[in-house]
Symmetry: C2
Subunit: 337 residues, 2 copies
Amino acid sequence: LPDMISISIDAMSGDSGLAVTAPAVLSALQSTPDLKITMVGDEKLIKQAITAPPANLEIQHASEIVAMDEMPALALRNKKDSSMRVAINLLKDKKVDACVSAGNTGALMVTGRFVLKMLEGIDRPAICTSLPTMSSHCWMLDLGANIDSDAEHLMQFAIMGNALVRAVDDNHNARVGLLNIGEEQVKGNHIVKEASSLLQNTSLNYRGFIEGDDIYKGTVDLVVSDGFVGNVALKASEGVARMIQHFLGEEFKKSTLRKLSGFIAMPVLKSLKKRIDPRNYNGASLLGLNGVLVKSHGGTDEFGFERAIMVAYNQAKNGLLEKIKHEMDNMLHQEYM
Amino acid sequence: LPDMISISIDAMSGDSGLAVTAPAVLSALQSTPDLKITMVGDEKLIKQAITAPPANLEIQHASEIVAMDEMPALALRNKKDSSMRVAINLLKDKKVDACVSAGNTGALMVTGRFVLKMLEGIDRPAICTSLPTMSSHCWMLDLGANIDSDAEHLMQFAIMGNALVRAVDDNHNARVGLLNIGEEQVKGNHIVKEASSLLQNTSLNYRGFIEGDDIYKGTVDLVVSDGFVGNVALKASEGVARMIQHFLGEEFKKSTLRKLSGFIAMPVLKSLKKRIDPRNYNGASLLGLNGVLVKSHGGTDEFGFERAIMVAYNQAKNGLLEKIKHEMDNMLHQEYM
C-alpha cells in the first residue's frame, strides 16, 4: 500500500462548486496527514478560494465546467478540458490514486467509462454506497448506473460489492442479499431468479432474496439490485426519513408544553438527526471502472463533500481496485471453468 | 348509492385468523351503522369467537382455509370451499358490495381474477394503497401484483388509480406522477418513457416523472409504478421508518436524563408513532377486478384489519367500480378512437 494517498478533486462541479469543494478539501487535508489532493478547475478561482494552500495541495488548471444538466454524451465530446475530465485523466495517468466529483452523474459515468475503461470481466459500472442499518451499516448497489441489468450483471455487481466490503470494512464473509419482492423462491421476475441461481454457484456468502425492509434490518452486508429499483428504493428511503423529521418538528411545535419538551429532548433529537444524516453516507463509488472514482451528491455541503473525499481515501488506501481485480480473476478462473 | 354497504370477510385468513378478524368486524359494525358484514369461515369457530352476534352480522360457512404459504394455483384448484374463495364468490354473486381478506396475496390475486374476472379494457390487476405525505396522503400503485408491466399497463394503472382518487377522496383533478429514476426526459428505461408519452395523451392531470423521494413530499396524488419497483419502494420505506423509530428508542435510553426527557416528550412521540403507523394505511385494493376486493396485511392486528374493512366500505360506498368502468369507457372511446 502506498505511503501517501493522492486524490484528484473536480473542484468546479456540484451545485455550489468551489464554495463547497474548497473548504471540504482543506478540512480533509487537515485531518488526514497521509492525504494529498490535486484540485482541478479554474486556477485563478481556486487560488481565490484558497488563499493559503497547505503543502499537500496541488492545483491543476482546467478551463471548462460540465453543467449539472448537460447531456453526458455532449459533455464527453465537447468538454475535453473540463474539471471533471481532467480530474479523471489524472487518475487514468496514475498521477492520483482516486478521484472525486460532485458533478452530473451521467457525465461522470460516461466520462469515467470512456477514460478509465472497464475492469476485465465487468460489463457495466455500478453505483455503490453505504447505508445505515439498525445494527451497523450495509452496502448497496446498483443505485442507478444501469436501468436494465441482466442476471450476469447482477452477479458481477455482487462480486464487486463483496470486494468492496472486504477492502473497506475488512469483512471477509460479507452476507450478500438479492433485492426482490418476496422471500420465497416462487416470487420475483426471471432476472432475479436467474441471478439467484448464478449467485448460489459462487463462493460468495449468498443469503438469497431479501425484501426492501431488510435493507435497514442489518441482516445482510451487501444488497444487490438493478439500478432502477435500487435508485427508487434509496430515494424513497430518503423521502421517508425527511418526512418523519418533518412530522417530528411539527409535533414538537403544536403547543408551548410540547415546545418545552422538544427543548428538553434536544440532545436526543440531535443524536437522531446525526444518525440518519444523509451527509454521513455521501460518496458513492462507481465500481467496475479501472480506477477509484467517487461521486458526491451534487447538492451536498462541505461536510458531505469531505465524507465523499474520505470514501475515496479509504477505498484507495485499502486497495479496493486490486481486490476487485483479484475477486474477478478468482471467479473467472474457478467458478466458470 | 345503496343504503347499506355489505362486505364479505374472509374470517379465517391472515397470520392470526379469527383472533384478529372477529374483534375487528365487531368494532367496524359498531362504529358504522350502514355496514353489513358476512363473515366467511368455519361456522362453529366463528360462533365461538362471536358469542353475541349483532343484527347486521351474518355467518357463511366455509370448510377450508388457504394457508399463508400455499401455492396460489393449488389453492385455486383444490380449495373451492375455502373462506377466501367463498367470500369472493359472494362478491361475484352480488350478495355483497365488497370483500376483504388478510390471506396469501398470490392466492387472493389468482382467485379474485378467476372468480371476478377483469374489468373491460384492463389487462392486469394492480395493488393500490394510500401512503402518508408531508402535506396529506397520496395513493400508489402497483405495489406488487405485477413484476413486468409494459407502458400500456402503466397507463391503465394510472386510469384506475385516478378513478380511485376521484371516488374515495372526491378529488377530480388528481395529480399523477410516474415513478422513475430521474426527472429529466433523458433518464429512465424505455417502458417508463413510452408510458409517459401515453399518459401525456390522456385527459389525466399527468405531471410527468417523479423520483422516489417525491412520493412523500405530497407533490402528486397518485404515484404510478411497476409492481416490482413499487413493492421494493414501499417495503424500503417501511424499513426506514422502523429503523428511525428504533434509533429514537435507543437514543432516549442512553442515560437517565435522556430517559426523563423521553418521558416528557412522550405525547409527541406517541403522536409521531400514530402518524407513521402502517396500520393506518392497511387495506390495499386489487384494482382492475370486476369487484371491490381489499387485501389486508397478513400480520396486522384488529385495529389494522378494521382499517382494511373501512377501506372496502369507503370504496364500495363511493361507487369505485362504476367510476373505474366509466373512466375506462371514456378512455377507450375518446382518447383512442
